[in-house]
């Protein structure tokens, strides 16, 4: 592991540590894809739903791997925005800005896999569980996250598929970068 010291926007020095590099991210994504296939077979009754804003990159990438590397044909992929279901409306200074929801299939009786980059307090997942009910009654819902921040949960929510479990204290932040959006695949631990 290597440590870097970079100035942040406030001129304060914060240190960041590489948790996963591009190669490690790639290996983990392939493992997660295989675990999904093991459970869901040909995906005929399973749909992937990436959670906005950052979970959609992981969902898109997993769908691509499943389609191209493992030749799974029936991948249905959606994006779910949870802004209007969050429990912190009016609690912060800023207006919560929404993102796009795109679910162009029926979720009734489907097996849903929620996909997000980092599982922290579990509150986003709680909101997502409420949000998805607006689209119908799924058969079951599972959760896949790339990073599981252990010991920081506010709610009894655990992932069914996890990329890497990390122990992170509260003033540290886990940042997942994606090639499509941030120029590289990597996971950093940022200490403020």
């Amino acid at each position: 592991m290597h440590y870097l010291c970079t100035p942040d926007t406030f001129g304060l020095y914060m240190s960041q540590k590489v948790l996963l590099n591009a190669k490690e991210v790639n290996i983990i994504l392939h493992r997660l894809a295989c675990q999904l296939i093991e459970k869901h077979n040909d995906f005929s009754n399973t749909v992937l739903i990436g959670l906005q804003p950052r979970g959609v990159f992981l969902a898109d990438r997993l769908a691509k791997i499943l389609r191209e590397d493992y030749k799974v044909k029936n991948i249905q992929l959606g994006h779910l925005d949870i802004t209007f279901y969050r429990d912190d409306f009016r609690r912060g200074d800023k207006t919560l800005a929404a993102n796009k929801t795109e679910i162009n299939f029926i979720v009734e009786d489907k097996n849903i896999i929620f996909i997000d980059d980092v599982l922290y307090t579990g509150r986003s997942i709680r909101a997502a569980l409420t949000a998805i009910q607006s689209f119908g009654r799924p058969n079951e819902i599972e959760l896949l996250t790339l990073i599981d921040r252990r010991f920081s949960r506010h709610l009894p929510i655990q992932p069914d598929y996890r990329g890497r479990q990390v122990d992170v204290i509260n003033n540290e932040k886990v940042k997942v970068n994606w090639k499509e959006h941030d120029d590289e695949d990597s996971v950093y631990l940022i200490e403020k």
Partner: protein, 309 residues
Amino acid sequence: MSELSVNHLLGIKYLNKQDIELIFKTADHFKEVINRPIKKVPSLRDITIANLFFENSTRTKLSFELAEKRLSADVINFSSAQSSVKKGETLIDTVNNILSMKVDMVVMRHPNPGAGVFLSKHVKASIINAGDGAHEHPTQALLDSYSIREKLGEVKGKKVVIVGDILHSRVALSNIYALQLQGAEVMVCGPKTLLPKYIDKLGVKVETNLRKALNWCDVANMLRVQNERMEINYFPSTREYTQQFGVNKALLDSLDKEITIMHPGPINRGVEITSDVADSKQAIILDQVQNGVAIRMAVIYLLASKIKQ
């Protein structure tokens, strides 16, 4: 930009371009929400909204109430016909009494211009103007622009003519402000008696020939003649008004291009617009109504998020 620059929606005059863009972007998300099997989100479950209608309304009142309920707000309704206003209570007293029941937001329609501004200075609540006399009707103008954006891609550079009773219309004034803010060209068209004297000072074109106006425009927004606000005769007869300023199929078909027809409602069929035009594909009147709910959800959501807990 993820926050409105204002704490109340009193008129388009008080908004900037970024505010309108933010409202439209938020409305896009709500439009998706109201087309789901379950059309409701829990965002405003701790907000109470009072709808105060001191003047008659069908569409606006229903649209606001639906928008509030789709956001899970608690709603109380008030119309002056069955209230203590008739017993002599003042506006501030009426509203303060309602606010003492812990109301966070007030949606108000009032026959007096400036009623919303007045209220915002005297009571502690977020105020949304749902029409104040002949002054402004901001949510109508927002949904009109939003519908143009949806139909034609963008508002900027489009030519919009507002036809009819401009003098008594709050929809016209709010639309002029909103369209100009977004870079559209605006023309007003109607009998001279129904055009305000200094309307050209707002930077709009003025035309009294309907055919010329329609040939110029991309969108025609047809307004109703507001007989209830007229104490004198502004034109000889309804029949003559219709002949000069009514839109019919034959007139539209004789134009060089296909224009979009809008109407804020209520329609007086056969007066400013014939039935075959109102029900044609060129008319986006019912799209306007659907967009009205999404726009009002966006406005209420964005204003409510500024109310401190």
